[in-house]
Symmetry: D2
Subunit: 116 residues, 4 copies
C-alpha cells in the first residue's frame, strides 16, 4: 500500500507532466522557487509584532496555509527529482542535530543554537 | 498506527521541547528560518550553469540532502504549531493549482505558468 | 569630476574584470546573489527580539556592515550592467511611492502600507 | 554641498517620517523587507534560461528597475538608521574582497570564488 506521502509525490509528478513542465523544473530553478515561496510566507508577517502576527494568522489562515503548501509541494518534487527520500533525510538530519545541539548544552541556555 | 509523517512531526516536537526552544519558534522567526534555509540550498547552485549544477549535486549530495531536510523540518514544525495538516494543505493546493493552470492552456505553452 | 558613486561602480567593475568574473555575473545569478546576501544580513537577527537585535548590532557591527556592503556592491554592479542609473531609479521610485501612499492616508494609520 | 546620495537618504527619511513609519522600520523588519524585495527582483527570472532572461529585461525594464530601486531604498535607509556610511562600507568591503580573492588565484580559475 502506498503511503500518503508517496501518493502526493505521485500526484505532483502527474500534475507537472500533464503540463509538460519538467523541462522548467531543473534543480536550480526549483531551489529559486522554494526560496520565493518562502518569501511569500514571510511577507504575511512583515512589519508585524507578535500580537499582529497572531491576528494575521487568524485573518489569513487560508492564504498562509496555501503558502506553506506551495513550499511543501516544490520541496517534495525537488526531493523526488533528486531521488531523495524526504522522510529518511529528515530523520537523518534530526539525528545530526541531536549530536550538534546536545540537550545538556542547549537547554536553559539564553542563547539560541546558532550561537552554541 | 501512527503514520511516518506523524512520527517525524512528534520527533521534531520532542527535539524542540527537550531544548526548551518553543519560545524562540514563533511563526515569524520560523518563516525567517525557512527562508534562510532555502537560501542555503540555493547557494549550492549560485554562479553555476546546468552542467555545473548536476556536478554539484553529485559532489555535494549529502549537504544538499541536509539542506532540503532542514527546510522540511522547519516547515513540518510550523504547520504542526499552527494546527495545519501538511498533507491536507498540499492536496487542497494541488486542487487549486489544477483549476488555475488547466492542462489545455498550460500544455505546450512556451510560457511558464507565472505568465499564463 | 566623477561622483563618489561612479567611482565605486568603476572599482567594482575593475575588481570583477581583473578576475575575469563577468561571465558568471549574468542578471539571474546576480539577483540570486543579492537574495543570498540579504539572507546573510537577516540571519544576524533570527530568533531575536528587539532587545537582542540591538545587542547583536552592537556586538557584530563590523559583520553587519559587511553584509550591507555586500548587498550594495552586487546591486551597484547589477544596475551598472543593465545600464540603470541607481540614483535616478531611487528618485523615480520614491516619487511613485509618494503617490501610492499619500501622507493623508498613511499617517497615523495603525496599519502598515502593505495593507493600505 | 550635499552629495546626491546624501540628498536621497534625506528624502527617504522625510518620506518615512511624514508617514510616521519609523516605528515599523526596526533593523529586523528592514532586513526582512530587503530580502523580500530581492525575491521580487529574482522572480522576474524564475524558470527562464539566459535568452529568456534577456527578453524579460527588455520587456519589463521599468518593473525590474523599480525592484532594484526598492532594494536600494531600504538598504540606504537601514544603513542610515544604523549610522553606517554606505560608501565607506562598500569601499572597505571591496578592499577585504581583494585580499580574499587575489587576482593571481581567482583569474582563469574555472571555479567561482565561492570555492576558491
Amino acid at each position: 500500500m502506498m503511503s500518503r506521502f508517496a501518493e502526493i509525490a505521485a500526484k505532483i509528478r502527474t500534475f507537472r507532466d500533464e503540463r509538460d513542465w519538467a523541462r522548467f523544473h531543473n534543480p536550480k530553478d526549483m531551489a529559486i522557487a522554494i526560496s520565493l515561496e518562502s518569501g511569500e510566507l514571510l511577507e504575511h508577517f512583515l512589519w508585524k509584532d507578535s500580537t499582529e502576527v497572531e491576528a494575521r494568522i487568524r485573518s489569513h489562515r487560508s492564504e498562509i496555509t496555501d503558502e506553506i503548501a506551495d513550499i511543501a509541494i516544490y520541496l517534495t518534487e525537488l526531493a523526488d527529482n533528486l531521488g531523495i527520500d524526504l522522510f529518511d533525510a529528515m530523520e537523518e538530519k534530526l539525528g545530526k542535530n541531536a549530536l550538534k545541539y546536545p540537550v545538556s548544552l542547549a537547554r536553559g541556555s539564553a542563547k539560541k543554537y546558532t550561537e552554541l
